[in-house]
């Protein structure tokens, strides 16, 4: 993995490394419906998310599961007047397009948790491209790995979390370029 612009990186990619991009505010406030749906999806009975008295006692009121951070920024699948579907982790999709790599998977993901996320919070996010590798070949195909950090802040400008994603954009063997 390259921590700095490599010799084979196009200038338009090299210039993006370390730059803050795609600052945006979530489309909706943090709400309990998604908290309960998420807890139901993994059968999470933690009373912090189901029992207001326990939440008040331990966390000063209801909070969202920390691992839900990315959910609050994924855009609606459709909204009125919008022609283009915005992509979460837009840098990931930008890199797929720049390198003409039709497929991609995420391989590594680190999440660091700071201030708890509370009901009604309006979170905002920003993306930072950290690195892009030289071309690599794996069992999936040939492409490049990249690392993208996503920082999350609440409406009080408190950091609530940082996610670091490693993606692999690739072309399957034999697929047309």
């Amino acid at each position: 993995m390259s921590g700095s612009p490599g010799a084979t990186l196009p200038p338009q990619v090299a210039s993006l490394i370390g730059q803050v991009q795609y600052e945006e505010t979530g489309e909706f406030p943090v709400e309990r419906g998604y908290v309960w749906t998420t807890c139901a999806s993994v059968e999470n009975g933690n009373p912090l998310f189901w029992d207001d008295a326990v939440a008040e006692d331990i966390t000063g009121g209801p909070i969202a599961p920390p691992t839900m951070l990315s959910a609050w920024f994924r855009p609606h699948h459709w909204s009125p007047g919008r022609d283009v579907q915005p992509m979460p982790l837009q840098i990931h999709f930008d890199l797929k397009e720049i390198f003409d790599l039709p497929e991609a998977v995420m391989s590594d993901n680190t999440i660091i948790f700071y201030e708890p996320v509370r009901m009604g919070d309006r979170l905002r996010t920003r993306q930072i491209l950290q690195s892009v590798s030289e071309p690599k070949t794996t069992k999936l195909g040939t492409g490049r790995f990249w690392v993208i950090d996503v920082e999350y802040l609440n409406q009080r400008d408190e950091l609530v979390g940082v996610e670091s994603y490693t993606g692999f954009g690739y072309r399957r063997e034999g697929s047309p370029s």
Partner: protein
């Protein structure tokens, strides 16, 4: 779920209780939609197989994170507070799989702010094959009257 796990009861080498779960298409789709992940490889069989080249739709990363969170806090109880999670995916989890989560306490420490931490090595396996590993740093009360959730600013070092 543990009512209250305290730091003095946690030691390197401890193993967490195992969790096994039969994954269905509903598990995968519900998890993806709960995470607001509309990408078709998590709900569209034809897309997953013919575009992504996988054997079926597969569990997405945020939902796996939610499974790991549930697994760890089942052990700590509600006063356990996640500080950091690092995932490495080496294979996908598909409908029809029975996934098993296991974890070992790798180490414990008390940081400079007095917060007690356990570092866990968690593995999600299917039929003995490791699909995802997750390193978890979780804060655990150092005493019955300690609460990691009250830590803020320089008192919280995840």
């Amino acid at each position: 779920m543990n009512a209250t796990l305290t730091f003095d009861a946690v030691h390197a080498g401890d193993e967490l209780p195992e969790l096994s779960y039969p994954v269905t298409a509903t598990t995968v789709v519900l998890g993806a939609l709960a995470a607001r992940d509309w990408r078709p490889m998590h709900h569209d069989y034809d897309f997953a197989v013919n575009r992504n080249g996988t054997q079926d739709i597969f569990m997405n990363t945020p939902n796996q994170a939610a499974w790991f969170e549930r697994y760890v806090t089942d052990w700590t109880g509600p006063t356990g507070r996640l500080g950091r999670m690092t995932f490495r995916m080496s294979g996908s989890v598909f409908p029809g799989d029975t996934m098993t989560l296991r974890a070992t306490v790798e180490s414990t420490e008390t940081d400079r702010a007095g917060c007690g931490w356990a570092k866990l090595a968690v593995a999600l396996t299917v039929a003995g094959d490791v699909k995802t590993t997750c390193s978890v740093r979780v804060a655990i009360p150092t005493a019955a009257d300690d609460n990691p959730w009250t830590r803020r600013g320089d008192q919280w070092i995840p």
